[in-house]
């Protein structure tokens, strides 16, 4: 009895998380799921449904669950903007592949502007220039694992070190994002860069770090230095080309020389944000390769 109850709840509650992978047919699959739900419930649990008390209990339970879910959603939305976060995770394989290629080889790409759709930026799935949080999150986790692997090959591994590496890298990331936010405030740049955008841009360097450490593990120290150098230059160019469009004024972004103290300050700011990335990349990986 109890197993059948939970399976019926499972088919109805499968819409707890929205399916963002298909933009148009999402609503259709939801409708079809709901249609299939009561039908599937009819076949195995007919004896269950004929009892009015259990019917009432099921209806009450499901309404209570949906009320609780609404309350949790409303309260959680106050602290963590979940709807905004969903935009950053709306990626697919093609986007991830193109973006990883862009992070390692940004020299051939020509159009770096983020395309908009009626004032809101287009989801990362449709625009390779849009920032996302999937690659930084996966990169961070992979970096922690690769660091553990590198320490293990040198017999310096213990399970606490994974936590130490993770929290250390996280602290550096938070400090970098706070420093960038502070400098953006001081220079009074009117930009539509949100905090999450800055988090995404700061997280892109993990890809280069992983490539460097893996090359160092496979082929030794010279390969580590070479690949790290390549990735540092690549991420420097990537950051400058991406931030140039967001921070500088329109004339300066197109490459024309614009005089004025403010534009010069903004240019220095872009340069220093981009230059901080290779420094962090080296700082967080050099102790892993001996």
């Amino acid at each position: 009895m109890r197993l059948r109850n939970s399976s019926m709840d499972g088919s109805d509650g499968s819409q707890l998380f929205e399916d963002t992978s298909r933009a148009g047919s999402g609503s259709q699959t939801g409708y079809r799921n709901q249609q299939a739900g009561p039908q599937a419930a009819g076949f195995p649990g007919q004896s269950l449904l004929s009892d009015p008390m259990s019917n009432l209990a099921m209806a009450y339970g499901s309404s209570l669950a949906s009320q609780g879910r609404e309350m949790v959603d409303k309260n959680l939305d106050r602290f963590i903007p979940i709807s905004k976060l969903k935009y950053y995770f709306a990626v697919d394989t093609v986007y991830v592949g193109k973006k990883l290629g862009l992070l390692v080889f940004p020299y051939m790409h020509e159009n770096w502007e983020v395309s908009y759709q009626q004032d809101t930026p287009v989801a990362p799935r449709f625009d390779v220039n849009a920032p996302d949080l999937y690659i930084p999150a996966m990169g961070f986790i992979t970096y922690v694992l690769v660091a553990g692997l590198a320490l293990g090959t040198q017999n310096r591994f213990s399970p606490e070190l994974l936590g130490v590496q993770a929290s250390s890298a996280l602290v550096w990331l938070i400090m970098e994002v706070l420093a960038v936010l502070l400098s953006l405030y001081l220079v009074t740049v009117n930009t539509d860069l949100t905090t999450i955008d800055l988090l995404a841009f700061s997280g892109y360097k993990y890809v280069g770090m992983i490539v460097g450490v893996v090359a160092g593990l496979l082929f030794g120290k010279p390969a580590y230095y070479l690949s790290l150098l390549w990735c540092c230059v690549a991420i420097f160019v990537f950051m400058i080309r991406t931030l140039r469009l967001k921070l500088l004024s329109e004339a300066a972004a197109e490459g024309r020389l614009v005089r004025g103290a403010r534009n010069q300050l903004r240019m220095y700011l872009t340069m220093s944000i981009a230059a901080a990335q290779p420094i962090f990349m080296y700082w967080l990986t050099y102790h892993l390769i001996r």
Binding site: V164, S167, S168, V171, Y185, L186, T188, R262, L265
Partner: protein, 77 residues
């Protein structure tokens, strides 16, 4: 370096406390960072120093619960 989140929180609290105990009359005005010396930046160019002074003032106001004339310490020059 083995940083932990706890050390970050410690450092943040100490920095905010350091900004909060800067005395308006005795110290900030003496070095030209007082709040009455920040006007004159109308237009769209406040400049870094004015922004920094505004930031210090807002941190101090927030930390004191919104009372800017509160006498906080009397030994800090």
């Amino acid at each position: 370096m083995a940083f932990t989140l706890y050390s970050l929180i410690q450092a943040a609290i100490l920095c905010v406390n350091a900004v909060a105990v800067l005395h308006e009359e005795r110290f900030l005005s003496k070095i030209g960072w007082g709040v009455d010396q920040s006007v004159g930046g109308f237009g769209d160019e406040p400049g870094i120093k004015v922004q920094l002074m505004n930031l210090v003032r807002s941190v101090r106001t927030v930390m004191r619960g919104g009372c800017p004339l509160h006498v906080y310490t009397n030994w800090l020059v």
